[in-house]
């Protein structure tokens, strides 16, 4: 048997049909659905008089549109979209966690929490950050609405076997460098199209040392490097996270699953199409300055001079600086912010909230800065409240919200105003991403928390 990578093993186990000259027909173990990219898919089923083939492998939630405080209710169009989700779930027999349900939350936060995300699976969702679930050694990727309809009807998908790429991060992370900095550091090195056509497998001692939540943060942003998916081989950290969760295998089934999962890691000597090596000790906390996630510098750095960049990057960098209203040479720590957003499928899990709460405990958000914490799910919110984190954030002057995608993507009431500048733990700093004219700087939860207190970009140790 030839040596194979993790991605190849998982892929090959899900091939329903393989014919030369055609993409593979792949079986989908779990289909996650949300209100925004599914209404047209359900409508397509209705028109063609089709049913959902496997409602038992389909889970729906509401996250993109939902308001995160009763003070700002959903607009009428969003309301209609959520009603459509509820109606479609009812009509097609799909389990739904609607607004108000204790399990409701961001689709990529709730599935792992419930034990529905497990090693060796194939998982798809009409959302590009589905790559998050690769942290468990699953192949997980985003699809468009036509493919959502296809999976609902057939539980399969036509797809080309992806290329393989290894990103190996060795040695220990320096103090104050988090999973978010690892992935921002990777994207700054390989670029926003560095992973196109491939599944990136993250390897090496720095990755192994990450918690499951840190691994999810890394895999989440694989799509920002253009990759089809990101994966990390399952190990004891993975198994300990999955064990005993609601939908995890139990008893003898658990043992069978474990036996299977232990066969998944990449075989010794399996070749990758491309390999990148990164020394973890060179990574620092990053802050993005531009309008794509590869345009970052370390927090000790300065806004770059476009003329000093590679010729191919100059024009885009100049345009980005104009949009961001930044001057070349400005120290990153001198940039002040209007808003701090701690949330999103990248960084709104309990560990993220713990790290941030440690930074703000006993301190006050800088006057004039709007700071919000939006837990990734209502279960994360409940856990944080059991730990008293809500009090820490509220006492510091943060707003403590209900779960949702919130200010990550500008399609619910939580948006930036034109020209507003935000330190955000989310994943995309595209023009207008957090609201038309808004300016996004991507950072880790630790830097976001310190920035809320300082009023300008800062590390926790900068705070007096």
């Amino acid at each position: 048997m030839t040596a194979r990578t993790l991605a190849e093993k998982v892929w090959d186990r899900h091939v329903v049909r393989r014919v030369a000259g055609e993409p593979d027909l792949i079986y989908v173990d779990l289909h996650l659905v949300h209100e925004v990219t599914s209404p047209q898919a359900f409508e397509g089923l209705r028109i063609a008089k089709r049913t959902v083939r496997r409602p038992d492998l389909t889970l729906a939630t509401m996250d993109h549109n939902v308001p995160t405080t009763s003070a700002t209710p959903a607009d009428e169009i969003s309301q209609k979209q959520m009603e459509a989700m509820a109606r479609n779930a009812r009509e097609f027999g799909v389990r739904l966690f609607p607004m108000g349900a204790p399990e409701q939350g961001i689709v990529h936060v709730i599935s792992p929490q419930l034990g529905l995300t497990e090693p060796g699976m194939t998982i798809v969702c009409g959302d590009s950050h589905t790559s998050t679930h690769g942290a468990f050694g699953a192949i997980a990727f985003g699809i468009g609405t036509s493919d959502v309809e296809h999976v609902l009807a057939t539980q399969t998908l036509w797809a080309d076997r992806p290329g393989t790429m290894a990103v190996t991060v060795e040695s220990a992370l320096p103090r104050g460098v988090w999973a978010k900095d690892v992935i921002l550091g990777i994207i700054s090195r390989i670029g926003v199209n560095g992973g196109v056509g491939s599944v990136i497998e993250y390897r090496g001692s720095a990755i192994r040392a990450l918690s499951m939540e840190g691994r999810m943060t890394v895999c989440n942003m694989s799509i920002e490097a253009g990759a089809r998916a990101g994966m990390i081989a399952p190990d004891d950290t993975t198994f300990a996270y999955v064990e005993k969760r609601q939908h995890a295998p139990k008893g003898a089934e658990w043992q069978r699953a474990l036996d299977e999962w232990r066969t998944l890691p990449t075989d010794d000597g399996a070749p990758f199409d491309r390999e990148v090596h990164i020394d973890a000790s060179e990574l620092r906390p990053y802050v993005s300055w531009g309008t794509n996630p590869s345009q970052t510098v370390t927090i000790d750095g300065h806004v770059p001079d476009p003329d000093a960049l590679e010729p191919a990057q100059r024009e885009a960098a100049s345009r980005a600086l104009r949009y961001m209203d930044l001057r070349a040479g400005t120290p990153i720590r001198d940039i002040t912010v209007d808003t701090v957003f701690l949330g999103s499928c990248t960084n709104a899990r309990i560990e993220d909230l713990r790290v941030a709460s440690d930074v703000v405990r006993g301190r006050k958000v800088r006057s004039g800065v709007r700071a919000l914490v939006v837990p990734g799910s209502m279960l994360v919110k409940a856990q944080a409240e059991r730990e008293g984190l809500d009090r820490v954030f509220r006492d510091a002057g943060f707003e403590w919200r209900d779960a949702g995608c919130s200010m990550c993507l500008g399609m619910n009431p939580d948006i930036l105003g034109p020209g507003e500048r935000c330190a955000s733990t989310s994943n995309r700093n595209f023009e207008g991403r957090q609201g038309p004219g808004g300016r996004t700087h991507l950072v880790s939860p630790a830097v976001a928390a310190a920035t809320a207190i300082a009023g300008h970009f800062a590390l926790p140790e900068d705070l007096s």
């Binding site: 329903v16 049909r17 000259g21 993409p23 027909l25 079986y27 779990l30 990219t37 047209q40 409508e43 063609a48 038992d56 492998l57 389909t58 889970l59 993109h64 169009i77 209609k80 459509a84 389990r95 009409g126 959302d127 590009s128 985003g142 699809i143 468009g144 609405t145 036509s146 493919d147 309809e149 296809h150 009807a153 057939t154 539980q155 399969t156 797809a159 926003v192 199209n193 196109v196 056509g197 799509i223 920002e224 253009g226 089809r228 939908h247 295998p249 089934e253 658990w254 069978r256 794509n292 191919a312 885009a316 993507l409 500008g410 399609m411 995309r428 595209f430 023009e431 207008g432 991403r433």
Partner: protein
Amino acid sequence: MNAVRRVTGRALPLDRANVDTDQIIPAHWLKRVERTGYGAGLFEAWRRDPAFVLNDPRYAGARVLIAGANFGSGSSREHAVWALVEAGFRAVIAPRLADIFRSNCLKSGLVPVEIAADAVAKLLRLVENDPGAEITVDVERRTVEAPGVRVAFTLDDHARARLLEGLDDIAVTLAHADEITQYESTRATWLPSLRD
């Protein structure tokens, strides 16, 4: 989906790399439950700039979009493809298209064309100098032709056939229902289910 054999028409030059789907169609348009009505949202923010190329009357009615590398990156929203199609585009040419965007193109008969960066640059210069120049994207022959340019592009047989015949993917797949059922009988019993 409508079948598409050949696209001939003028082309819009959008000489930028990494154009993300948030630019192609901003998120607030995604609150809608319909599959149509997105044309007006195409490049909504950039369009407010009178100098943006989409506002240039010389390119009105363009059927081909020529863009820089990594076009369609970011969000998986198929609404980006729907908006382009509604605005009259039938083919997108770039050195590289983002994976999910490319896959979405094939669902709506928007021909995804990836050709070498120097060929794209040549086409951009051609239509910048002569907005009336016509470009032909031939799905059957898998070629792009314009005055002084003839270049082949890659499109696998399966995707090509679906474009040429305007096939409904789901109907094709359901013809393999027996194979799907057979596969299901081999799935591991420990795999999670919402019925658990």
